[in-house]
């Protein structure tokens, strides 16, 4: 029933052009779904008025879960009754975003029975997003999803769906098994993921090497980025092959090394690995000749977030190097200590990065029982306002506590 109430000249314009068109996608869905048809109509209204027409509403969800569904309501329901409720569902993606065609078709079947037929593959958190359904459909969707082997992702003040790069499944640079760690943490923290109990959201993202393909350093409360401790593996013949095939090794590789720890004498490439910063540039440029070393693990960093409230942050180093091996106790122990502290002392809507800024990294480390090391700072403090908690007092033998 393609009951198109609205003419959509503005959106039609976006069916043209070289890039695949989301308007075509909505129109395709609208042939079967009155919801998608009204979405198109409401969006055209937004394009005419230059303003959105959604409002947040009461909390909606499935029984026993505190997250995974985002309630959304139209503020012009009289004009577009089929989107008066238009909730999104977040579904936990398989690690590395791998699928079989059969699995995708099962998801499509469920969504065509119960929603608009529109999706995001994927949302910026990493989840599969089903865009647009109404409250009575939520329980049926949930039970059909779980029968098909899928579960909801996180939303609200909980562990958000962990996500990871393609890792050892297809990348020679993966310094640890990102998929295995993402899956393990997701399964281990199901309760924290489905039942919000934190001051605010907490995101894990895993990248297998410092190229950081999932942007973990910019958008995860806990960023786990692969690296290595020993020397870059080099195939000297392959280096010469790059040179013979016309690569200017000096200008393209050596001069771009941020550590200035490389040299090329026209025949042989030398790397002083003790100064190498593990930036990946030379490896990216000569993947056949250079590879990360063999003693591999990861850097664990904490605290990145977008600007709201206290300004944007990048994650900073917590553990300069750890081995990543199942059952990952080292990471879990420190994360659980951090959660305990943050749940106790964190303010409502305070991300872990903001919490650390408020209490001070030094105090934070003390509270979670981690020794400070120089790798944690870009440079030591520049101001002399050191707050000493202990000092000597005359006539007392011992240091005052």
């Amino acid at each position: 029933m393609a009951e198109t109430k609205s003419q959509t000249p503005k959106l039609d314009e976006l069916e043209k052009g070289r890039w695949p068109s989301f308007v075509k996608e909505i129109k395709t869905a609208a042939q079967k779904s009155p919801m998608a048809a009204d979405l198109l109509g409401q969006l055209e209204l937004s394009y005419n008025e230059k303003i959105g027409h959604w409002k947040h509403g009461g909390i909606v969800g499935v029984m026993g879960y505190g997250g995974g569904v985002i309630g959304r309501y139209s503020d012009v329901p009289d004009k577009f009754p089929n989107v008066s409720h238009f909730h999104t569902i977040r579904i936990n993606q398989p690690a590395g975003w791998f699928y079989t065609s059969d699995a995708l078709r099962k998801l499509c079947d469920i969504w065509e029975r119960h929603g608009s037929g529109l999706t995001n593959m994927h949302g910026s958190t990493g989840d599969i997003i089903f865009l647009g359904t109404s409250t009575p459909h939520l329980e049926p969707i949930f039970s059909e999803l779980t029968q098909a082997g899928f579960d909801l992702g996180g939303s609200g003040s909980d562990v958000r769906t962990p996500s990871c790069c393609v890792g050892p499944a297809r990348c020679e640079w993966a310094c640890y098994d990102t998929l295995a760690l993402a899956y393990d943490l997701t399964m281990n923290y199901q309760d924290e993921l489905h039942r919000p109990a934190f001051p605010y959201k907490f995101k894990f993202k895993m990248s297998g090497c410092p190229n950081d393909c999932v942007a973990s350093i910019a958008r995860a409360d806990c960023s786990i980025i692969g690296t290595w401790r020993d020397s870059i593996q080099m195939d000297k013949d392959a280096v010469r092959e790059y040179a013979d095939r016309g690569m200017d090794i000096r200008s393209e590789v050596v001069d771009n090394c941020p550590a200035k720890c490389m040299d090329w004498d026209g025949k042989e490439l030398h790397i002083d690995n003790s100064y190498c910063r593990r930036c990946m540039h030379c490896i990216n440029i000569m993947p056949k000749a250079l590879r990360p070393g063999k003693d591999r693990g990861a850097v664990v960093l904490l605290g990145s977030k977008a600007p709201i409230i206290e300004g944007a942050l990048l994650s900073s180093v917590l553990m300069p190097f750890i081995k990543i091996e199942a059952p990952y106790r080292q990471i879990k122990d420190v994360i659980e200590r951090i959660w305990d502290l943050w749940c106790e002392e964190g303010k409502n809507r305070e991300r872990i990065g903001e919490f650390i800024q408020r209490v001070g990294l030094g105090n934070f480390l003390e509270a979670i029982d981690v020794e400070p090391v120089a790798e944690m700072v870009a440079h030591p403090r520049e101001n002399p306002y050191v707050f000493y908690e202990e000092y000597f007092v005359e006539d007392e033998e011992e240091e005052k506590k």
Binding site: L43, G52, C213, I308, G311
Partner: protein, 360 residues
Amino acid sequence: MPEAMQERLTDIGPPHYEKFLPPVIKQNYGKWKYHEVLKPGVMVHVSETGAKLFTVRAGSPRLVSTDKIRKYAELADKYCDGFLRFTSRHNVEFLLTKQENIDPLIKDLKALGHPVGGLQNSISSIVHTQGWIHCHSAATDASGIVKAVMDELADYFETMVLPGKLRIALACCLNMCGAVHCSDIAILGIHRRPPKIDHDNLHKTCEIPSVSASCPTAAIRPATVGGKPSVEVIEERCMFCANCYTVCPSMKLNDPLNDGVSIWVGGKVSNARHEPMFSKLAIPFLPNNPPRWPEVTDAVKNLVELWAKNARKYERMGEWIERIGWPRFFKMAGIEFRKEHIDDFKHAGLTFKRSTHLNY
């Protein structure tokens, strides 16, 4: 329809990824030795065992119908024994073992309207958020701008002629759901006017204590207006986060006269060469001009082409600007430097020029 209600499963988590890995990946997991980009959007990974895996990467609007997903599934069945994946930037990747299937697959993808590319020194798909499609706090639309910009830049997706990688991202308000703040070019929706309070209805629709408590900067306090209980906003304190509108529909933040788009440049997340950097403000405000946002597409295209023409090989936008200096960047880009460009938030002093390293 399945009778699924007998047993209610919960907390089962996502399917195990191994179920979805093609045999060639299972056999060579962790054994990949090197890869080569064969042509735009096509790469081969070679394993220590000698096995080869071909990947074809195609762009996508991210917002896709189930019909489109079924088409992807059909192509995967036809060429890849049913295996495919998606990338962190919303691209779809087909995983092939038969090299002879590459060109027929590309032909089918193009017939479906999906360009193939996004590898190496190219633009990948634009990470973006919901906009007017789904979010209540959006200061602009996301999908529409992305479509309009990528229509202009599609050549750079389908070729590898740029000096380095170029990552564009869009967020429709400063919550920045897509964490766009570390992109070569970030397109960010901005509100410029504090919420307009509907005093007649606020007391009927919202709880006043929770409205005041919702504001992260404590800009909202209870007040009596026209004899009715309501709230007032200390306007200088508002940073347009839409929290109040989230809890109370009578605090409408969206405003067609003042909402629009800002452009930020020079961020990166990868550690290659330079450390990760935030994007910095280039253009404080451009109007919302749907459906094609010509002011925004022109500005982005101008920045891309300026960088492409002037950067050294591998130099990302931020590395290039750091080398030439911001004054020259503003001059070359033809962007007027204004008061809005100067930071006045916490630690703003660290962003002032504190040396005589200037060129003329």
